[in-house]
Amino acid sequence: MIGAAASAVRPYQAVLRVRFQLLLQYRAAAIAGFVTQCWWGAIKVMVLAAFFRETVATPMTLRQAIDYTWLGQALLTLLPWSVDPEIARMVRSGDVAYERLRPIDTYAYWYARAVARRTATPLLRAIPMVITAGFILPMIGMSAWGLSAPASREAAALFVVSMVLVIALSSAVATLMEVLTVATLSDRGVNTLVGPLIIILSGSLIPLPLYPEWLQPALRLQPFAGLLDTPFRIYTGHLDATAALAALVRQAVWIVVLVGIGRVLMARVMARLQAQGG
């Protein structure tokens, strides 16, 4: 029983491991990304501070907003805002049809690739960001501007669970985007349409609690909130335990829904796929 299960997941584990190791090698990109994200983080924190000084009633505290912002900068590459460049290349060249030569489930294979991309890349960038914002800034007397610890031990535990769900959800979105790339034969449209949408609706641009009150129910229910907003609100204590659990359930439901849509769509797209050439 266990043997059969191990054999079933073996290909996908291997793909995940190999891609993960490969992506860890892109250190120059990580350093460049780190510098950019520090810069943007600093600007965002200053804008937020100015905004909070002029406003009396705020939906979250400045402390929470700053933590939310630094976490967002540290984990920016968790967001599935672009299609895997190698899959985009395969779609353009037509090589994507040859993915069907591998005796594995193509959806699961691409999903495993996506998981590798959503873990290796953020890992490389999150560590220096957290060290900078969480330890170096406080050490030089700027703790008010840095990243503080999770709101509680309970919040920390729920945050970890939520982050695991973020990886699963982000990979589901990424794989769906890749299936749409195959359907439209280009990554251009998907990247242009979905990319900005995700940056806004995940809370990466502006924390979601700062949007108007009447928008909140809709923002809570949409899938992209589960990409950043949910774990960050848990971390900062913006959600109490009950609300946090409800948010985790919403994340899980969206994972199931998006994986389902992705699988159905992939089956249809792949059946329709016509490898050209005599």
Binding site: S7, R10, P11, Q13, A14, V15, V18, L22, E86, D95, A97, Y98, R100, L101, R102, P103, I104, D105, A271, Q274, A275, Q276, G277, G278
Partner: protein, 331 residues
Amino acid sequence: MSHASIVVEDLTKVFRVAERRTGAFGTVTGLFHRRYRAVEALKGVSFTLGEGELLGLIGPNGAGKSTTIKILCGILEPSAGRCEVGGLVPWRDRVRHVARIGAVFGQRTQLWWDLPVSESFELLRDIYRVAPDRYRQTRDELIGLLDLERLLATPVRQLSLGQRVRCEIAASMLHEPRVLFLDEPTIGLDAVAKLAVRDFVKTLNRERGVTVILTTHDMQDVEALAERVIVIGKGVILADSSLSALRRGALAERRLWVHFARDVEVLDMPGATVRQWQGNSVELSFDPRVTSAHRLIAHVAAAYEVEDVHLEEPPIEEVIARFYALHSVEA
């Protein structure tokens, strides 16, 4: 039914190709209503292939060779017709089917660009769920046969075409398939690499009994490898025979080179026609059904002072070109 026999019956494939209209008006209407043109790539192709056979599939560009191979590999679904490889319908039982076949497409790569060859092999081992000791044995054998030892640490994108194709072929055999599909495996290769590929395919087929279907434009491949040849043109099978039968049917003539000791003023050779003169040598062609080489040689030796003679068959390229011309397909 054995795991390696192939049945193809009345296979038909129609592609829908979007037509682009010309002019500004055409572009606008094209946005709302696309016109499609049906292109028949295969119009009822049938053949069977026994276990351990090697079949060469030849034909001009666009004849339907690759379409046939892609259907057999399970990556393309035919519009109509039946097809079974080892009792499985390729596109319906895709995962089970592709686990049992090997495939190499000369113009595509199935390795991972950014991985070294050895890691690509290991990933394939896990994807095909090959047992570790079985894998080691097969891998070492393939490395020896294809001389890959020095390439193992190189990322695939840094390999030359010849090196890459050798690696691709090894990669396609790591799970020890009983059927191998090769779509233009020697395209763009230099002479040495071509020979290496041919030798390897020959070994697989003759010594291991692997069933092979090969498409190619290189007639030397066919001559070196295939006992049986199917010629496809415009989506139909034009011939399914041995290479020598094909030769007899299309271009039965033979060539006789005669090297004379001195200038020949008038050459009188009944039953033969002069193809060309080269100094004191002449190339004659004759139909063996009309006259024999023996009679021609006797005649020329009696009438002239002859230094040397030798017999040739027309090159296979010429036979195939003649065959296409006979069936009015364009190469």
